[in-house]
Structure formats: structure tokens, C-alpha cells
């Protein structure tokens, strides 16, 4: 093969917030966190990639596609914009 193909092999590790066999929330929370993260810090901010890898490894691609579509249409059930600090 002429062109060199580069493969990353990273898997999300145990997260004490989600110790159960039910990983649905782990997947969803990582998706939300990732988009909140890049909304605040921008696409290239490296620490956001952790969330990206977590949700790509855990979520079925079909779910991610559906959520992406919802985000584009603005009907995603969670606010992903950078939260403005509340004035007390």
C-alpha cells in the first residue's frame, strides 16, 4: 500500500460516574459534553477529543447521526451553547 494509513486505537476507560452495565447515559453525556466543549473552546481544543472518542466508541453510529441531525435542526433536547454566567 503506497499511502500510509494511520489507525488510532483508543477505548474509553472505566468511569466511576457510570459503573453499571447500562452505558446509555455514558454515551449521551459524552456527546453532550463534547459539543458543549467545542462550543466553548473551539473544534481544535485537544481535551475535547476525549469526549469525542468516548461517544464514538460507545454510541451506535446511528444514534450519533440522529443527534447530529437534531442539532442541525435545533431540536436537540439539551442546550449546547456556552452557558452565560448567571447574575446573582
Amino acid at each position: 500500500m503506497a499511502e500510509e494509513k494511520k489507525l488510532d486505537w483508543i477505548t474509553p476507560q472505566f468511569d466511576p460516574r457510570f459503573p453499571n452495565p447500562n452505558q446509555t447515559v455514558h454515551c449521551f453525556q459524552s456527546y453532550v459534553d463534547y459539543h458543549k466543549c467545542i462550543n466553548i473552546k473551539g473544534d481544535e481544543f485537544a481535551p475535547c477529543k476525549v469526549f469525542l472518542r468516548t461517544f464514538t466508541s460507545l454510541c451506535p453510529n446511528g444514534w450519533v447521526a440522529k443527534w447530529d441531525e437534531q442539532r442541525e435542526q435545533g431540536i436537540f433536547p439539551v442546550k449546547l451553547e456556552a452557558a452565560t454566567p448567571k447574575e446573582e
Binding site: K6, P21, T24, T56, G62
Partner: protein
Amino acid sequence: MEGIIELHDNIMFYILLIVVLVCWMISSAVVNFNEYNNHFSMKYLNHGMVLEIVWTIFPCLILLMIASPSFILLYLNDEVVLPAMTVKAIGYQWYWSYELSDFLNTTTNQTIEFDSYLLNDEMLELGQMRWLDVDTWLYVPTNTHIRFIITSMDVIHDFAVPSLGIKIDANPGRLNMTSVIINRNGVFYGMCSELCGVGHSMMPIKIESVNVEDFLSNIMEY
């Protein structure tokens, strides 16, 4: 899987003990106390405090001794600590689809996903298992901690591979997690184990475990 076999052996010890004890008690009662040969009358034997305590406490202890390794195994199975790779198995009517999204091709930004369909009788080659072989099957590395994420996209399926000791429901809208370490190379077959429609019998699972090096070279070619 080793844990399951060990629990089976463990419990089998108590079962044999109970079977032998009960058989001995029944046979000795039949032999020694029949209508022709009765050693003593039961007329005045109304209470036996010690006997009653013994036959209450003893089964309790036996149940505890069976329950404790069983619970340990149950809760150990729940924990997936330090997995090395994640495989998503997604049930559809009526095939399994696998996604290996750990392997992100950094040039094209694509992950690996494929569907695994049953081979029908005309497509079978000599040596393949009828109704168990699929067109594309799952490759996994040996001696690697693999996390399976099981889910479904339509109805409830069940991802069951008896020789790996896994059987876990695939519910739509829920990701179930289980883990496996395969200790030797080989091909492992399983089937959908939750009645999911007319094609329930036609969605087998085939997993082949290969050395890590072979696995990686395979993945690179994908």
C-alpha cells in the same frame, strides 16, 4: 468464562454432598424402619429441639456457602475494568451489525462498521456450519479485554455466545455492556436468544479470535 466454570464446580460439590446425604437417609430409613422391622416406636417422639435446630441451621449454611461465590461472580461480571477495545453489537431484524469505532482512521475519519448476514444454503461452502455461518464475521484479538456494547435498533434481541459465557439482552434505546477475555484462538458461534420475529433463527453470531498482530494487520487492510 473461567469464573462460571469455577462456580459450577463449586456448587456441584455441595449438590453431590446433598444428593449423597439425602439418598443415604432415604435408603437407610427404607431399610431400617419398615413395617416388619421397626426398631423403636415414634409414639413418644414429639419434639427434638436439637434436631430441629440442626436441620434449620445446616441448610442455611449450605445456602450461604453457595450464595457467596455466586454473588461475587455476579458483581464481578458487572464491572468492566480496563477494557482494551470496544465492540458494538447492534441487533436488527434480522441480522447483527458490528461497529469497531475505537479504530478511527485518522486520514478519512471513518470507523469500522459492517453487517453480518446469515449464509443461506446455496452460499454455503464445504465445512461451513449451516445456519451458523455468516458472510462477514467479527474478528477480535486473543488475550485482550474486550468490552461489548450491545443494543438494538428495532425489537429486543439477545446477544448470546455460550462458549464465551455471554448472554446479554439487546434493548432498543439502551446500551448494555459486558466484557470478555478470549484465551485462545478459535471460532465461537452464538445465536439471538430473544424471540424477535420470523427471522429470529436466522441471525447467528460468529466471532473469530486471532492473535493481536494478525488482528491489527487485518484491521489495517480493512
